[in-house]
Amino acid sequence: MSGKQNSAGKTVFSFLRNNTVPLMFILICAVCIPISGFSPSYLLNEIITRLGRNAFLILSLLIPIMAGMGLNFGMTLGAMAGEIALIFVSDWQIWGIPGVVLAMIVSIPFSVLLGWVCGKILNMAKGREMITSYIISFFINGIYQLIVLYLMGSVIPIAHGSIKLPRGYGIRNTVSLLNMRQCIDNLLAIRIEGVKIPVLTLLIIALMCILIVWFRRTKLGQDMRAVGQDIHVARDAGINVERTRIISIIISTVLAGFGMILYLQNIGNLSTYSAHSQVGMFCIAALLVGGASVDRASIGNVFLGAILFHTMFIVAPKAGAVITGDPMIGEYFRVFVSYGVITLALIMYEMKKRRQKASIGAQLALAQKDDDRHEPGIGAQPSPARKEVERHE
């Protein structure tokens, strides 16, 4: 790409530019950690816990990026599917690890349905996928509330009054998941010096990573990458673009459902109406912090982002309280940083796109000039495939 000339300064500059967000975050953490005054073992424990809790959710974002759908704000839909499954499993009194497994299985049909709907709508809004998926998550949240707040308990049978609202139908604001709390985390946990390592959870995450790597090599995975690179070229190559895109969203939604169940089993408590909305935004922020962009994300981004983002999340409130004497400052600061990082990443992505288009235009102009001079091949590099479907977001 542009900027690759021999001077080391240019390489450093382009490294800085490509990795602005993670570097900024490292800086913020480096400043805030000592100020906050947390002990290293506390921090380590918190980070490992949060990594185990969130990594699976963040991993679910990788597939749509691969398929060119941008940041999947619709992962909230998968989270909602997972929550509905957990409500049912809770009501059926299935506890422990079997409960978690059952919830995952039950969440699949919901996730597939929601993912299919989301994918279909996104196909109708090509070029605007991100803002559309963002609005879809709000829209389906309304439908989720319709189901959970009104239909459950009345039309949909819920046996236990303890999870229903006093009025007789609708689910309570919080549903206790005490009977499956940390069942997966604790099963093979190792405790070293006050740090608890949830081995089974991490194994599951590692398994997921391996699956993703394997998936990239399958035909379906290759199809998705082709669609992500250039829709028109993929279509000409015979790939059913619409279907592939929908499948990528469905897979992402199902994974988000599983991830949400893992997340909730760690917390042990379901905030029925607010858990999923925070999840979408924070996971995307974490992925971006790890250096991912709207069109490229790797497993490394997932883990780096999870660690950096959650470190900031832990230390910011305390640091803010120490600096200004008001604990709320730190809380707002971490919200601000989360949104700010997404804004920054989106801006940088757009600007990079425009730079690419400008450089392609310049190359074309150069090629024309050379053609005019009848000199074969010099400077006339074939232009890389252009994204003809521009993003209007």
Binding site: F139, G142, I329, V335, R354, E390
Partner: protein, 347 residues
């Protein structure tokens, strides 16, 4: 005959038809189920007067091709700064409203210009980035509301004396200052003439502007930027102008909203305020690249009508308040409908 009907439905839009039908049904149902119709009509008109200017703020940016202004919170923040500073500086009564407008204007201009510069550098990705710029600035201001040196006892937390309260009452300041101005009462329906007059004034000004040379240039930039550039129009400058106009209108809009509502709402309140305005103008018939004053009026009326009538009527009929859920589904569904329509113009 059937063809005419079909083409009417197609141009009016099926979702819009559904929403209008739903609202009509609510109005008809209301007296039957014992809802106080004159009071509800007053409520609808009142809410219309509060929100219309915020919806109007969408128009310039749609015309210039910047899409729907999801970054409305920036303008709202300018308005909030104007309001709080006006109160802090000691103004009361109707003068506080005027001063709020005066003080928010430079903020709106500054923030609008910065926002415009940003949008010009990222043509094509405006809507998504605008959303997050809005969010980031609201959360940034959350920190600022706590830190900025405000002292008026009406506005700060009692105990510490530092940091603004979440909601500040406007009694004694400009509560209802426009609504009560020239208020007309017909039977039991009271009309907030002052606020409606201000909206009419601004709407007329917008309409007139769009017919001036600069205004037509703006429309040209939105519908066909290549042509506009070829015709010698400075695309970036016009886009910047539309963003500043939108931001300033949003500032005025929130001030009018506050005078109707009676409170200044800080911290996280402006967070999601873009969405109702966006969905209102879409319900009124606008699309991502086309919006007229008629859309503003129709859309605000329909949206606020649904928001007002649904809870009261539904409550009387099935004794449950499903209004929140219905509002979420209807307004977001409307935005989805607009986003999934193939836009007529491509860039």
């Amino acid at each position: 005959m059937k063809e005419k009907l079909a083409s009417f439905v197609a141009s009016f839009g099926l979702p819009r038809l559904i929403i209008t039908g739903f609202l009509l049904a609510l109005f008809i149902l209301a007296p039957i189920v014992g809802v106080d119709l004159p009071m509800q009509i007053t409520n609808v008109i009142n809410r219309f007067s509060w929100n219309a200017i915020l919806v109007l703020a969408m128009v310039p940016m749609v015309h210039s091709g910047c899409g729907l202004n999801f970054g409305l919170p920036l303008g709202i923040i300018s308005g909030l700064l104007g309001a709080t500073l006006s109160l802090e500086l000691g103004f009361t009564g109707p003068l506080s409203f005027v001063m709020a407008v005066v003080i928010s204007t430079p903020f709106a201009l500054m923030l609008g210009m910065g926002y415009g510069v940003l949008l010009n550098r990222i043509k094509g990705g405006e809507m998504m980035i605008a959303t997050y710029v809005g969010f980031s600035s609201v959360s940034f201001m959350c920190m600022m509301w706590l830190l900025l040196p405000y002292h008026k006892p009406d506005m700060v937390w009692g105990m510490a004396g530092k940091g603004l309260r979440t909601t500040i009452s406007l009694e004694g300041y400009y509560d209802k200052v426009l609504s009560n101005f020239l208020q007309i009462n017909i039977g039991k329906v009271s009309i907030p003439t002052g606020a409606l007059l201000l909206f009419a004034l601004l709407a007329f000004a917008m309409w007139a502007f769009l017919h001036t040379k600069t205004g037509t240039a703006m429309t040209a930039v939105g519908s066909n930027p290549t042509f506009a550039k070829a015709a010698g129009i400075k695309v970036d400058k016009i886009r910047m102008l539309s963003v500043v106009m939108s931001t300033w209108l949003a500032a005025i809009g929130i001030l009018v909203y506050e005078q109707g509502f009676g409170f200044i709402q800080l911290y996280m309140a402006p967070f999601y305020m873009a969405l109702p305005a966006v969905s209102a103008i879409l319900i009124g018939g606008a699309s991502v690249n086309k919006a007229t004053i008629v859309h503003v009026i129709l859309g605000t009326f329909l949206f606020q009508g649904i928001v007002t009538m649904t809870p009261t009527v539904m409550n009387s009929v099935i004794h449950t308040d499903m209004s929140e859920v219905i509002r979420v589904i209807a307004s977001n569904g409307m935005i989805l409908y607009a986003l999934t329509r193939r836009s007529e113009v491509s860039r």
